[in-house]
């Protein structure tokens, strides 16, 4: 089953869930309507013909105008993998959590919230994962500016020793 068949099956199972198949230049992936991400993911996991039982990884990208969450799921039953992207607006980057569908998303979403600032609605424990709780900003965003000070520690190098 290639990405076209997966898409066809998803279009039947979750009407309106898939926006398009992206083929080039980026590696083939499904573009998912962010509002339907939970339906798409649950269908991917539960449909017997798909059975994507393993979330390989979840990450986030900054595309400039939008932010996007990247999902890569694997079916150990059928030995196939598929990638998905869901775009969210930069000024309101909110998307539903999938951490109850694949528990591994729990930490991946926390990491993505921490470093890219995407908010996962319904996540049971959405806190920063890697950075300190009082850190400001999301460093993997392209418009992130390195802070000059953190907790009275000088981050610049122009000081006299």
């Amino acid at each position: 089953m290639d990405i076209e068949e997966i898409e066809r099956r998803l279009r039947e199972g979750v009407p309106g869930g898939i926006v398009e198949i992206h083929r080039a230049p980026y590696s083939p992936h499904l573009v998912v309507d962010a509002a339907k991400i939970r339906d798409v993911c649950r269908f991917l996991r539960d449909d017997p013909a798909l059975r994507f039982d393993y979330l390989t990884h979840l990450s986030a990208l900054d595309t400039g105008a939008t932010l996007c969450t990247v999902y890569r799921v694997l079916s150990l039953t059928h030995k196939r993998t598929v990638a998905m992207r869901a775009y969210v607006p930069r000024d309101n980057p909110v998307i539903d959590t999938v951490s109850d569908i694949w528990p591994s998303a729990g930490w991946f979403e926390r990491e993505s919230f921490d470093l890219m600032g995407i908010e996962y609605r319904g996540h049971p424990d959405l806190r920063r994962l890697l950075l300190p709780d009082d850190w400001e900003g999301h460093p993997l965003r392209k418009d992130y500016v390195d802070p000059l000070r953190y907790q009275d520690i000088d981050n610049t190098r122009d000081y006299e020793i």
Binding site: Y26, D53, H57, S104, P139
Partner: protein
């Protein structure tokens, strides 16, 4: 009158002898029983993903050593695979063999650290120097090939940094020959030990459903009965030409997916690595001299790629987004320890505090790989 008990918050780490790096756990416990465990990670966050956007593709290679310094060869290799696929760079056949040899030697040394420290966490000091004695020999071999003992920067994009020195393959063969005899020795020392058994059998069971749900990978996943090995199932390099078994949790004692299964899977994986190294030495293409595609710079076309490789701690995947320049637009690293750590929140409730140490050790988490 019933005995009054009270939940206590217990802080473990960040500097704790049994936490395999700088890790912190916040435990809620009632006496010795853990009610909840919240891992607090990030102490070793070095923003490697952000650095990946600031460095050229060639310049980023030494940083991959630091993703997981216990198996830096495999981290180098995983990154090289991703860039090679993205930029369409060919790898000479001689380099493919060298990569497998150094990768599997590093897997052996990584598993030795895992098993030695695991025994030490359980209170057995002797196995640790025994395991490290063998690891030193791997370090000597890798030092001879690339000059470094921990962070190698050896597997380069397009091949490997240096050719194998004269006589090195024979040294590697004599190492695997003697190491193969050392595995039963290690077995006699520790595997059959009654106290060791008591501490591991039936402790920290991760069933198949949980393992898949939490995205556990590598030996931890296989210990839960899932026969999934990227070297075999999404093969890369010359692995399709090599013969090796994929050890899966055999439930020799206790329950499938317990700490003992994870221990045994690693021991058996070392045996498989020995087989793989020996095959590579036997079939080594001596007549092909090229070991590296010379590259002045790497400038992949606009595109993206995700390439997974089987590192000793599970799936090591690089997601690279290229904008057509020498600098990546996004460098994402998926590591095995990250998901292995997240499962603790699920399996810790109900464990004894001392068993939690065994579980952390059996999952073989390496903190810098979680934090990157």
């Amino acid at each position: 009158m019933p005995l009054r008990t009270e939940e206590m918050t217990l802080n473990m780490g960040p500097h704790h002898p049994s936490t395999h790096g700088v890790l912190r756990f916040i435990l809620a416990s009632d006496g010795e029983v853990v009610h909840s465990c919240k891992p607090d990670v990030g102490y070793l966050h070095r923003s490697i993903e952000k650095i990946g956007e600031k460095m050229t593709y060639l310049g980023f290679m030494p940083y991959t050593d630091r993703v997981d310094y216990v198996c830096a060869m495999n981290a180098n290799w995983g990154y090289a695979l991703a860039v090679e696929k993205l930029a369409g760079i060919a790898v000479p056949r001689r380099a493919e063999f060298i990569r497998v040899i150094v990768g599997e030697l590093n897997r052996i040394s990584s598993h030795l650290v895992a098993l030695g420290t695991m025994a030490m966490d359980l209170g057995a000091i002797t196995p640790f120097p025994w395991a490290l004695r063998e690891r030193e020999r791997v370090n000597d071999l890798l030092e001879e090939i690339c000059g470094a003992r921990l962070t190698y920067n050896y597997v380069w994009i397009g091949g490997v940094a240096f050719d194998v020195p004269a006589g090195w393959l024979e040294k590697a063969r004599s190492f695997v020959d003697s190491f193969e005899r050392m595995i039963p020795e290690f077995d006699r020392l520790i595997t059959g030990n009654k106290i060791f058994h008591e501490r591991l059998v039936g402790v920290g069971v991760i069933d198949r459903e949980t393992a898949l749900g939490y995205g556990i990978s590598g030996p931890n996943l296989r210990a839960s009965g899932v026969a999934w090995d990227i070297r075999r199932d999404i093969p890369y390099g010359i692995y399709p030409e090599l013969e090796f078994d994929v050890p899966v949790g055999a439930c020799e004692a206790g329950a499938l997916g317990d700490c003992y299964c994870r221990f045994r899977v690693r021991v058996r994986e070392m045996e498989e690595s020995v087989k793989i190294v020996r095959q590579c030495i036997d079939r080594f293409p001596h007549e092909e001299l090229e070991f590296r595609t010379k590259l002045r710079r790497v400038k992949p076309p606009i595109g993206s790629v995700y390439v997974a490789s089987e590192a000793p701690r599970g799936e090591l995947g690089f997601l690279i987004l290229s904008n057509g320049t020498e600098y990546a637009e996004r460098m994402r690293i998926r590591t095995g320890s990250f998901t292995a750590m997240s499962v603790l929140e699920k399996i810790a409730p109900g464990l004894m505090v001392a068993d939690l140490v065994a579980v952390i050790a059996s999952l073989d988490v390496v903190a810098p790989e979680i934090d990157r």
